[in-house]
Symmetry: C2
Subunit: 323 residues, 2 copies
Amino acid sequence: MNVRTGGRRREVSVPDLVSRAREGQHAAVARLLTLVEDASPLLHEVMTALAPHWGRAHVVGLTGSPGVGKSTSTNALVGELRRRGQRVAVLAVDPSSPFSGGALLGDRVRMGDHTGDPDVYIRSMASRGHLGGLSWAAPQAVRVLDAVGFDTVLVETVGVGQSEVEIAGLADTTVVLLAPGMGDGIQAAKAGILEIGDLYVVNKADRDGADVVRRDLRTMLSHSERPEGSWRRPVLKAVARSGEGMPEVVAKLAEHKEWLSTSGELTRRRTARAQREVEAIALETMRRRWGSVGEQGILADLAGRVVAGRLDPHTAADQLLDR
Amino acid sequence: MNVRTGGRRREVSVPDLVSRAREGQHAAVARLLTLVEDASPLLHEVMTALAPHWGRAHVVGLTGSPGVGKSTSTNALVGELRRRGQRVAVLAVDPSSPFSGGALLGDRVRMGDHTGDPDVYIRSMASRGHLGGLSWAAPQAVRVLDAVGFDTVLVETVGVGQSEVEIAGLADTTVVLLAPGMGDGIQAAKAGILEIGDLYVVNKADRDGADVVRRDLRTMLSHSERPEGSWRRPVLKAVARSGEGMPEVVAKLAEHKEWLSTSGELTRRRTARAQREVEAIALETMRRRWGSVGEQGILADLAGRVVAGRLDPHTAADQLLDR
């Protein structure tokens, strides 16, 4: 990073950048997140500088099928959290778009009602075409937003399919959104959302069928077994467009955060998240040593012998690890 | 494995099991695939025994949104391949179901018209709840079916979302199914199917709108740039339920296989596949050493220090790799 100072180019140091981001400068936050996205060699130093500061934010995952009103709900949630004086960051991730080199939605479009609010920061992130992209970059982006001082980090998934499950792995609290008229019962069972939600919100509750969705979901939730002392998962109703029901959602989020802390579940979840993150970074390091798929290198050589039937894949893997 | 022989228990050796599978005994094939699914310690020996025999089968991936008629099309394709005297295996994988410990559909139900045909073998496979499950087990299952002598291995995805892309990574030839009235244009663009298909089939072509789907898809395909000498991706029409159009699909599959061989693309694809497979096995080995996510072990210890802000995840990853 270069800035002009008194006619000379000068490096902005990582500690300096971290300080600026912690003072609330959006440009510095953006620069840190770009270092994460680009897997910059500076990232190691960035994370070292941030480490003492993370762990304060409440990380909330927001997921649901396309059409349930995720963006509108995020916008309404941000508004409600702002009314309570919180600083809020939104990370919109799209893990289902492996061919996209950039984010699908412009961050400016996403800002919605919060353009110009210095205490709201919104950023989109795509998975950049490599497997493990989300597992690698997203948790580190969350660490940045946490450590620079946002009170709540909302992680919204823009994708479909397995993304719901991955989002649940990123968050302290996972909110699953539903809406009437979308065959949600079957979708819920199929996508595994019964397993991942801490809080369910039936959005568009002014439409016909909202009570049916809520009742069906409650029935399904009551049938899925949970150990003694588990969090009792509420099913709320809301109309994100008007903000109706949002105070109750935010109250339940706070309640769940409290439950996470007292039950020890917060540490358990965060440790599991850090395990996946450290593992993903370690794997990425290995991949750089081996040569990535599609490139020449040790891996390509071994794979060629497997294809030819001269080596089995397990022996190949052993040889890869031995080098 | 134990069988009773003359009143005594006797081990069935891996070479014996491989021989039986190659003679066409379905029970032996099933046993080999179970060893793959269970990540058996015998797998290394199994793969060593199979290595000289793989590489002959044409691996065809079949994908498409729910409702396009994947099962019916698989069934019709199997019928057409059988009429040409081929031995056919079907592997139905469901990578979108991480919480399922077993396959969603009974294999007997899936057999359709081919119950009792000794030259047709059908097996479902779920991803068993661990990330990388499909990348680990599915390519080895394909190796088994290839090496025991099936001429065509059809890999059908039962899932949604990223599974299409993963399936494409498993196959020599990827067939993308579409159907009228499903908003396929947008779906196609979204799911990245324009990038993965070698052959597109508009199923349910007796319904209104089939020609529109075909025309739109052709337009989209013509807009996506391809290097000189690329395979020209055909868009066929079919009615899988009646078998109409299936001979043309099978003819195109054979033509693509031929093109793959002569262009060198077959080796390139298979090498890339083997690279991912070897990498996944190596990672699995590492994970066993580190302790899996959620378990105690080196990884859990390091992750705990990351959560506490006493270590950054990159240093943790370095320490993990150093041990």
